[in-house]
């Protein structure tokens, strides 16, 4: 059966951002195609740590915290719906998140930040935990840690199962998923768009650029600027361990399967998604400092993934002024924001009013001299 050539909307990119939006779009009844790269494409989605995280965000831009909080609050029903529709469970849990602080200075700085955010937005509640309080919640935590900051708004999910569920739900509702159809060109034409891929050219009334680092190349074709740069994060995963950590933290997180993810690094290394022993060693030392019993845990896998970073780390959701109907979606928190992408961004892209909460997330906030991404 051949693939149709005309769609209401074509989404460029089948990662967490593209698929969440595409899923939301098919829910509105639109005919949607996702044009995705091949198996070896960069795919930030595969490098994701899996946090649904609100704590600490918004210092530079309160709406970002509110946007994240809103998505976090929608996540439970988002996950439930995906599970119902596909039988694949995204593995979401929201026990609250913990930011571990090795030193008193870190604890104090974190406390000040969260307090100032809480003052501006009541929903950003938190607790300061001293070492004793931390170890009541997490007995395996080191006695040497100064303490931690806890917030009930944080949770975690399995990013790969989430992506898999989105793929299935999208296709079950009639969406066309096209791998090995990386979008190479978007040509505006009489108010519509020709989307060019190695597998053929498609025609769409609207197009969504959710191609991660590829957005930098595609954006200008539809009058959109995508000032993004890759920021590598390295992650390591252990063998499956008996449960010892009920809460996600920014650097250590135990999955439902029992494996423990270790991470939180940030390097500007261009398009190199490899792993390096220095960063792996640093992540290992930090994990062992927080949880001494991890000393004998074996790391089974490690990877680097390239986050999609705007200069201020905040998202971009923008419709092209020059080519209405062309949309740009950029963020580095694809799991946290997945629910909002499906529930809030998709209806807007499908033709609804632009939600006020995403007002700040346009590229005009970067002045002309802001460096364009080197992708």
């Amino acid at each position: 059966m051949s693939v149709p050539r005309t769609f209401d909307i074509v989404v460029a990119g089948g990662g967490l951002v593209g698929m969440a939006i595409a899923y939301g779009l098919v829910r509105t009844g639109a005919r949607v195609a996702v044009c995705d790269g091949d198996d070896n494409a960069f795919r930030a989605a595969r490098g994701n740590f899996g946090l649904v995280w609100v704590q600490g965000k918004g210092a530079r831009c309160l709406p970002y915290a509110q946007w994240s909080l809103g998505s976090s609050e929608r996540w439970s029903s988002f996950a439930a719906q995906l599970t119902r529709e596909t039988g694949t469970d995204p593995g979401f849990d929201r026990p609250g998140g913990i930011e571990l602080c090795e030193t008193a200075a870190e604890l104090e700085a974190g406390h000040k930040l969260l307090e100032s955010l809480h003052q501006r937005e009541a929903g950003l509640g938190y607790q300061v935990l001293d070492n004793a309080a931390l170890r009541r919640r997490v007995p395996a935590a080191s006695a040497q840690l100064a303490g931690a900051l806890y917030s009930r708004n944080d949770g975690h999910a399995n990013p790969l199962f989430t992506l898999s569920a989105l793929h299935q739900a999208f296709q079950l509702r009639g969406g066309a998923y096209l791998p090995r159809h990386e979008v190479t060109e978007v040509r505006p034409f009489a108010g519509r768009f020709d989307v060019v891929t190695p597998g053929g050219t498609f025609e769409a009334g609207r197009v969504v650029l959710a191609a991660g680092l590829g957005n930098a190349r595609l954006g200008p074709m539809v009058g959109l600027r995508a000032p993004i740069a890759p920021l590598r994060g390295q992650i390591m995963v252990t063998e499956k361990l008996a449960p010892f950590l009920d809460y996600p933290t920014l650097v250590v997180r135990q999955t439902r399967e029992g494996s423990v993810m270790l991470g939180d690094s940030a390097e500007n290394v261009g398009l190199d998604d490899g792993t390096t022993r220095n960063v792996m060693a640093d992540i290992a030392r930090r994990a062992r400092t927080a949880f001494p019993m991890l000393a004998h845990a074996r790391i089974v896998r490690a990877w680097g993934a390239l986050r999609i970073m705007t200069p201020d780390g905040l998202p971009v959701y923008e419709e092209s002024a020059a080519q209405p109907g062309a949309f740009l979606a950029i963020c580095h928190s694809g799991v946290t924001l997945a629910a909002a992408h499906a529930d809030t961004i998709a209806p807007w892209i499908a033709g609804g009013a632009r939600p006020a909460v995403i007002d700040p997330f346009v590229t005009a906030r970067f002045n002309a001299s802001t460096e364009v991404g080197y992708v």
Partner: protein, 484 residues
């Protein structure tokens, strides 16, 4: 954590690694050899220098005994040899950098900087997923042979060998030499495979000694009266759950000659040949190619063993299955090429010094096309039934993989992401090729197009402690800043 430098780092002390070390040392290079085993010899010459068997040569044969002088020359070569040592990360560059962890009595993590790297990590048994293959009491024929060489252990008489390939006959004849017997041999070599292989016979004749040896072994087995079943299909292992005891294998079931058979056995040994172990090479970024004749992936190397990554050579069965003697000569050739590359010998010397090794290597490889045509399992044996476990570590079935493939899964990496297939401690060593075959089957593509998992360090699992000792404590590490 200490740091060492050398001209050449060799990973693996099997025939290729040992021969390369000997040659490189003879040309004046400083050489470090790291091997996971307790002693040098790799798998084929395991324990050859210090066999625990009272009658090693009689049981194991002259080919195995031939490893002894090679090991002796290696131990006398002046290479710095680290036994029980895992190389778990390699970073290409000038110089290359590798992380090693020694797991013997004197443990520790060590960094090596080398001007050149030779991967001689050898092969592993080909995965042959059949129903029941994860049951206790099911092992590889190679595994049992390793137990014989390294432990001095032989299986009880209620043992069945199943599969295809020279190792079946070699192991069976070694057991006969030890005065043992087997319950049965179930040969899955398809009817017509020999006919298909005959066109390679003229070439194979040049290495006729292999053919004669093979025929002698088969004749010994036939004469022994061990029950032999040919062109067997639909092999599966039946298990029994016993009250209060874990399940284990109790019988092998298969079809042969139009009948179905069920043979009770305590131990079932499976084998479908060996394939290169590619994880170390892939973790560095070496390009690979799919070999149709052997139905497996091989690293791309030139005639000297030079890979697609600068300063990295690959030799031995890890570069392509050729057997112990071919591996030895390939190791010599790689060492000569490396010596020339590093300026220790000039090109004319490399040319003249390599002539004999090149001729020997070519000689030993002439048998391969015949063996490949005869023994490479057909697609039906590489693409298991729905309920068969493909990823042993994460218990993912062929049915689950086919289901995702039908959903237009982009490739093995996306399939891994969606199913957890390949995420366990074996790091895809036992499922990667089967995943590619199933994707190819369902999506109507070729295994070469489908590709393989992205493999990265650690090349094998290492502990947090082993990783954490990498960083010198005096050096400040800058953690990146996260903007928002």
């Amino acid at each position: 954590m200490s740091e060492l430098q050398c001209d050449l780092l060799i990973v693996g002390a099997g025939p290729a690694g040992m021969a390369a070390a000997i040659e490189a040392r003879a040309r004046g290079l400083t050489v470090i050899v790291a091997d996971e085993g307790k002693q040098a010899g790799g798998q084929i010459y395991r324990q050859a220098a210090h066999s625990p068997l009272a009658h090693a040569d009689q049981v194991l044969g002259a080919d195995y005994a031939a490893g002894r002088p090679l090991i002796a020359r290696f131990m006398a070569s002046g290479a710095q040899y680290f036994a029980q040592t895992l190389v778990w990360q390699i970073e290409p560059g000038a110089p290359l950098s590798a992380m090693l962890t020694c797991r013997g009595e004197a443990g520790g993590t060590l960094r090596v900087r080398a001007q050149a790297l030779l991967l001689a990590t050898g092969a592993q048994e080909r995965a042959w997923p059949v129903r029941g293959w994860t049951l206790p009491g099911v092992m590889g024929v190679g595994a049992a042979q390793t137990m014989l060489k390294a432990g001095g252990l032989v299986p009880g008489a209620n043992t069945v060998l199943a599969g295809s390939g020279p190792l079946l006959w070699l192991y069976a004849s070694q057991l006969l030499q030890a005065g043992r017997t087997l319950r049965a041999i179930v040969d899955t070599t398809p009817r017509g495979a020999l006919r298909g292989a005959l066109r390679h016979l003229p070439r194979a004749w040049r290495a006729g000694e292999y053919l004669f040896k093979g025929l002698r072994m088969m004749r010994a087995v036939r004469r022994s009266g061990i029950e032999l079943y040919r062109a067997a299909r639909d092999v599966e292992v039946l298990g029994e759950a016993q009250p209060h005891l874990p399940a284990k294998a109790r019988a092998i079931r298969f079809r042969a000659g139009g009948h179905q058979y069920e043979i009770p056995a305590d131990l079932i040994l499976l084998h479908q040949g060996v394939v290169p172990g590619g994880n170390a090479a892939r973790s560095i970024g070496c390009a690979h190619r799919w070999d149709d004749a052997q139905a497996c992936w091989q690293p791309q190397v030139d005639s000297w063993g030079r890979s697609s990554v600068a300063r990295v050579w690959i030799a031995g069965d890890g570069a392509g299955i050729g057997g112990a003697k071919a591996a030895e000569h390939a190791g010599e050739l790689a060492a000569l090429d490396i010596a020339a590359d590093l300026g220790h010998i000039d090109p004319p010397t490399r040319a003249s010094a390599s002539r004999a090794a090149r001729a020997e290597l070519d000689h030993h490889l002439t048998i391969r096309p015949f063996l490949d045509a005869l023994y490479t399992p057909p697609p039906s044996l590489r693409r298991p039934a729905e309920d068969v476990v493909v990823c042993r570590c994460e218990e993912v079935s062929a049915g689950e993989i086919r289901r995702l493939a039908r959903l237009d899964c982009a490739g093995p990496n996306q399939l891994k992401a969606f199913s957890r297939c390949g995420m366990g401690p074996c790091q895809g060593r036992w499922c990667g090729t089967t995943v590619g075959e199933l994707l190819a089957e369902v999506q109507g593509r070729q295994p070469r197009e489908v590709g393989y998992y992205r493999i990265r360090a650690p090349i094998k699992p290492v502990t947090i402690d082993e990783l954490a000792t990498v960083l010198p404590t005096d050096r400040d590490f800058v953690r990146g800043e996260f903007p928002s």
